[in-house]
């Protein structure tokens, strides 16, 4: 929780990691990819305040103590959601697998939630694994990475018939939060890994599932926004938006926030630190302090109130994951109109 000027914020970090990208975990023959991946992440850390930068050695592998201090003690995070990311073609034991994340969840059961994953290219075996994982870890969500490499394939689409089977399985197993990575990625080649039209397709076909688009489709925010206005069950995952822009490019940050508030609305935006790319503390404190610039360029964006910030920092995610939020963090129902414009609904296509 974070208290500031008499306001109490319940903080849910919608996207964080506990990874091992140290050389000992690099797959032999794939070292350049394993090394390149983590170095690319490390460059993104450079977009945060200088005093929060880590040396690459710590960044490759940080300890449980680091995690607890950065996230719970200093970072104000009440509940964190692990988005498991396997990348087993590059990392022998995986980058941060469900099994590894679950070990931490066991130690901090009220503070952490681990999401699973699936990959339609794994077929029947993948479906069985998903079923086992769901039962063993009581999965509420999965993180999907459509640009992941697998046996010579360099990506897949949610539109594929195999994906439909996995989504049906999710529905059957009660896994209702589908986080899809649509953001900065490695090696999209001809597979247009940023393309959000596949989310559009499945959001329509699976209205009972929630689709959280991680990194808001960067570098194609516009495609994401136009799509999100059409689909009531599509949410904006703000990992990278706050971490990557709020400090490094504050005016662009204000514009992106303004656009998201207009097109998507504050009820469907979820903050996430993307730890360990960026530490949560400066993001939470900075966002609570943040106001949009006053000049005319920003004048017709919806304004974000303290209540709106409470939703984005935790209440929205708490709803999706059924997290109990104590009364003192709730906002009253008479809080007024949420920031979003009705005419955003009029958009049919870009």
């Amino acid at each position: 929780m974070y208290s500031h000027n008499g306001d109490n914020f319940f903080v849910v970090d919608g996207h964080l990691h506990f990874w091992d990208a140290s050389p000992a975990n690099w797959v032999s023959g794939q070292e350049q990819y394993a090394k390149g991946w983590i170095e690319c992440f490390h460059a993104y850390m450079g977009l945060g305040p200088e005093e929060t930068h880590w040396p690459i050695e710590k960044f490759q592998k940080y300890s449980e103590d680091d995690f607890v201090k950065d996230v719970f003690e200093d970072g104000h995070v009440d509940v964190g959601i692990f988005q498991s990311t396997y990348l087993k073609e590059w990392y022998s034991e995986g980058f941060n697998t469900l099994e590894k994340n679950a070990e931490l969840v066991e130690k901090y059961p009220d503070r952490l939630i681990a999401n699973g994953r699936w990959d339609p290219r794994e077929g029947e075996a993948g479906l069985r694994q998903l079923e086992e994982d769901a039962k063993r870890y009581n999965l509420q969500g999965v993180k999907l990475y459509t640009a992941e490499w697998y046996q010579g394939s360099r990506g897949w689409s949610l539109k594929s018939p195999e994906s439909q089977r996995f989504l049906e399985k999710c529905q059957e197993l009660g896994i209702k939060n589908i986080h899809v990575h649509k953001g900065p990625t490695i090696w999209p080649l001809d597979k247009d890994a940023f393309d959000v039209s596949d989310v559009d397709y499945v959001a329509t076909n699976f209205p009972e599932l929630n689709f959280i688009v991680e990194h808001v489709g960067l570098p194609r925010i516009e495609d994401f926004c136009f799509m999100a206005t059409q689909e009531p069950n599509v949410y904006a995952g703000l990992a990278v938006v706050i971490g990557g822009l709020m400090h490094a490019r504050p005016r662009f940050f204000a514009k992106v926030m303004g656009e998201l508030l207009f097109w998507v609305g504050e009820d469907k935006m979820l903050w996430a630190s993307d730890y360990a790319i960026w530490e949560p503390r400066w993001q939470v404190e900075g966002f609570v302090d943040w106001t949009s610039p006053e000049d005319v360029e920003f004048s017709d964006y919806p304004r974000l109130t303290t209540d709106g910030k409470k939703k984005i920092l935790g209440l929205n995610a708490a709803k999706l994951y059924g997290i109990d939020v104590p009364e003192e963090f709730q906002i009253s129902d008479e809080a007024g109109e949420p920031a979003a414009r009705e005419d955003a609904q009029l958009v049919d296509s870009a």
């Binding site: 690319c40 990625t185 516009e222 822009l245």
Partner: protein, 233 residues
């Protein structure tokens, strides 16, 4: 103007297809050497080694084609440095091959053309957003804005780039054509202008944000590169 200056001028016309900015102003051209007998060597460096190979290929190929149009240059070498697929792309460019030949069995050129066209349309919309905003700020009504013709456009960088993109997309740009068009080339009606501008401004924001992230990452990369050199690793 000497040959090197003309080569650089030609490179300044090459745009990052995703960002719609010249590769020279983005800082992607790290070196440009011209030998006394007109041999040209160009080195490109992108913000991360993982930048999308499709866009990387387009920039390298466009750079080579732009320079090849200069009559006084001889052999041209374009080299993408510190990039995962640099070897494949450099070899394909040197052979004069397309993207598909750089990655046999993994892609085909049609998709690359489609991708380029998609971004040309985005770039056009985003450029028009700036022109349109300026007119509205001058006090014009939506009707007056949508009645504007190509001939009415001020001769500035945004307008010139709009016309260049329209030409590439096959959207009419004779003096009597409408100044503001939807991504498919259809004229924008006055009653649609507010929403059209809203969308166009979002595309503008998206391109600007991506450009700013690319610049920041490139700066971080250069700084770290310099630090590594200093400690001699």
């Amino acid at each position: 103007m000497n040959t090197r200056a003309r080569v650089l001028e030609a490179l300044s016309k090459v745009h990052d297809p995703e960002l719609d900015e010249p590769i020279t102003s983005l800082g992607f051209v790290t070196s440009c050497e011209v030998s006394p007998d007109g041999e040209v060597e160009i080195v490109l460096r992108l913000p991360t080694p993982q930048c999308a190979p499709n866009f990387a290929y387009l920039m390298a190929a466009d750079a080579r084609n732009a320079v090849r149009r200069l009559p006084e240059v001889g052999r041209i070498e374009v080299r993408l440095e510190d990039h995962y697929t640099g070897e494949e792309i450099n070899a394909a460019i040197a052979r004069g091959d397309g993207f598909a030949a750089a990655f046999p069995g993994e892609t085909d050129d049609d998709q690359l053309d489609t991708l380029r066209e998609l971004f040309q349309r985005k770039a056009l919309v985003a450029r028009q957003a700036r022109l349109c905003k300026a007119l509205l700020a001058d006090g014009l009504t939506p009707e007056q804005v949508t009645e504007r013709r190509v001939a009415d456009l001020r001769d500035d960088a945004d307008a010139r780039r709009c016309l260049e993109l329209r030409g590439q997309l096959g959207i009419g740009c004779d003096p009597d054509s409408p100044a503001f068009v939807a991504p498919n080339g259809e004229p924008v009606a006055a009653h649609e202008l507010t929403l059209w501008l809203r969308k166009a401004r979002l595309v503008r924001t998206s391109l600007d944000v991506n450009g700013s992230i690319c610049r920041s990452l490139l700066q971080i990369r250069s700084r770290r590169g310099a630090e590594l050199e200093k400690v001699g690793t």
